[in-house]
Symmetry: C2
Subunit: 380 residues, 2 copies
């Protein structure tokens, strides 16, 4: 480059990553989890980025968590050697699981006898032993076994005794923390994420079954937790970036959000109550957050400057179609005449994980200065 | 391949394209538009696929429409030589516009004096003349000039007289057709999409201003239109695939939907009212369609067979998180015991344009037989 590149030079839409904020978020979470005596195994589905994963390991993370086999493979290809695929194993893709287990310490998750049987058979046929967690439902009611059901104890027994499988322990994710309506409700959910697992482990041990480890975690619950006694590891992901949903839920401050979408005003008609930018659904995603009408804040606040975090009062990204984003305020006066065609703004994403998955790279910046480009491994 | 590959062999999630349905949709739209005496310039943002664009041209389409510069470049790289970027030109990317205008017949859109000035200056500096349409608002109220405002006539005058710019005509998109609550409302919107443009063109001509062409179109409005007199070209996109939103709006039949997401059941707990599949937000997108609670049908019906279109009654993809999809019914009995871990199902996407943009390729099939893989050019 013949001259310093800044956010004024980048084609839009672009996903800007504030390196100062990222580094602060990585450090803060690593310090908190270390202080509470657990291991940190961050979920890389938020960033899908080798450079960020390496910074998390350097800050003390012990292994990573992935959401897809493609993600796991991409990170394995770049030297990450301890990966948990925290998703009930897809039984039609066990050949890929076996291939990964031959290359790295690869850990998978089951929540059914059918999946365990298929996994163990594939492992034995390939002559490998596959690290396996039992997914437990701590109240989210998406996947995972009922910790109170006798059949769940039976599954633990089989996990500990089935050739081809090494039982790693029990794992959960309190995803319902994202829908907590108050800070107290979030704290209750966070407490239960741990206690449900400790109680299930105690029942297992009472039945003579070993539970080698307990893995829990989500960014909202880990943000409020102050006691991880008995927990082996936690798996938050979103904390590297945070987002507007986390700000609205009181999980972080506005200045902790590390990613914004840089976009250009492409249309603002005279007298109109809205402006249109080149950041639509394929830049922001269409994630409106939990379906709670009292929290309908649109898709993220609008920042006028290209550095710093001062949001325009009342103005947000109100709706998106495929490539168009509509910026509007509480009234026409919030917007009218305040946006010029060609002007650049930044938008704080409502859900940074899904926004990052819409882009091929991060434009890595400190303030307005572009420092680097980091690839987003978003293949499927 | 040593043996015939079928949908039973494909890793999930996968985007399956039914070639028979695709070919029928392409042919039907081409025949209708030809019969009505207009040109067809299909929007490739729906499919982002070279092979499909070529089939559209072979069926009689005159050029294509693109939603981003990257899309336009990808198609130009594959021999498409007449491309309209139907998006208000991003003034920070005029160097890319000029570069495309030097390679192919590249047509852009403006709806402001500021964008026109910037475009014309860039064109003159590069020694090219750029084909330019004026975007008109026919009632969608997203972008486009007010056809009744005197300033819009003035913009037409300048478009026709500014060096560096060749005025192609006036262009609109009745995107509000997607929110029509009744078939009659959709027909009214479709009628207005044409008449607003004819009336604006008449006012221009009364003022001594030439309007070389009129371009309109969306899949819903074109599906109900029976009169295109005075219209030069139409630009529907979604019709190649259709989707569940179009079925629900009466635009097409269920058997006209050409794409489905092949997925695997990964979790279904005993007694649970839902099953979970490996098709989440990064497979389906989070597009719920128009925000009309009376049409809350979830994210698409569930098909049990791997070929054909018979949907399970009352069962649909109810919600998605990043990689998980929750399948549920009207009551627990619709689901309980009807899904086995490892079983494959297909899901009809609610919005096929956004779903296609989540994948890297189409698994092209006739019935259950895989015929080919076609790349989806989803770079940004």
């Amino acid at each position: 480059m013949t001259r310093r590149q800044t956010l004024h030079d980048i084609p839009t839409p672009a996903l800007v990553l504030d390196l100062d904020v990222l580094e602060r978020n990585i450090r803060a979470m690593a310090e908190k989890i270390s202080r509470l005596g657990a291991s940190l195994r961050p979920h890389v589905k938020t960033h899908k980025c080798i450079e960020i994963g390496r910074r998390q390991l350097a800050a003390g993370a012990r292994g990573i968590t992935a959401s897809t086999l493609v993600e796991a493979r991409d990170f394995a290809d770049h030297g990450f050697d301890d990966i948990t695929w925290a998703f009930p194993v897809v039984t039609g893709r066990l050949d890929e699981v076996v291939a990964l287990a031959k290359r790295v310490t690869f850990r998978v998750v089951v929540d059914s006898q059918a999946a365990l049987d298929a996994l163990a058979a594939a492992a034995r046929a390939a002559g490998v032993t596959i690290h396996t967690w039992l997914k437990v439902d701590c109240g989210y009611h998406r996947v995972g076994v009922d910790p109170c059901a006798p059949a769940s104890l039976e599954l633990v027994r089989r996990l500990g005794s089935t050739p081809g499988v090494a039982f790693d322990g029990i794992l959960t994710h309190a995803g319902h923390g994202y829908s907590a309506k108050t800070h107290d409700e979030l704290k209750r959910i966070a407490g239960e994420e741990r206690t449900v697992m400790l109680e299930f482990a105690a029942r297992c041990r009472d039945a003579g079954l070993e539970v080698p480890a307990i893995s829990i975690g989500s960014t909202p619950t880990i943000s409020v937790v102050e006691n991880l006694d008995g927990v082996t590891e936690v798996r938050p992901g979103n904390y590297v970036f945070y987002d507007w949903m986390q700000v609205a839920n009181g999980v972080c401050r506005a200045e902790d959000v590390a990613v914004t979408v840089l976009s250009t005003v492409i249309s603002h008609q005279p007298g109109s109550d809205h402006a249109v930018v080149d950041a639509g659904a394929l830049a922001m995603s269409k994630d409106l957050g939990p379906a709670d009408p009292t929290r309908s804040r649109g898709l993220g606040p609008v920042l006028k400057g290209l550095a710093g975090q001062a949001a325009l009062e009342r103005v947000s990204l109100r709706s998106v179609s495929q490539e168009h984003g509509v910026v509007a305020g509480g009234s026409a006066a919030d917007v009218e005449g305040r946006f010029a065609v060609g002007e650049r703004i930044r938008i704080v994403p409502n859900h940074s994980c899904l926004t990052a998955a819409m882009f091929d790279e991060y434009v890595v910046a400190r303030g307005e200065d572009v420092q680097d480009r980091w690839k987003i491994w978003r293949g499927r």
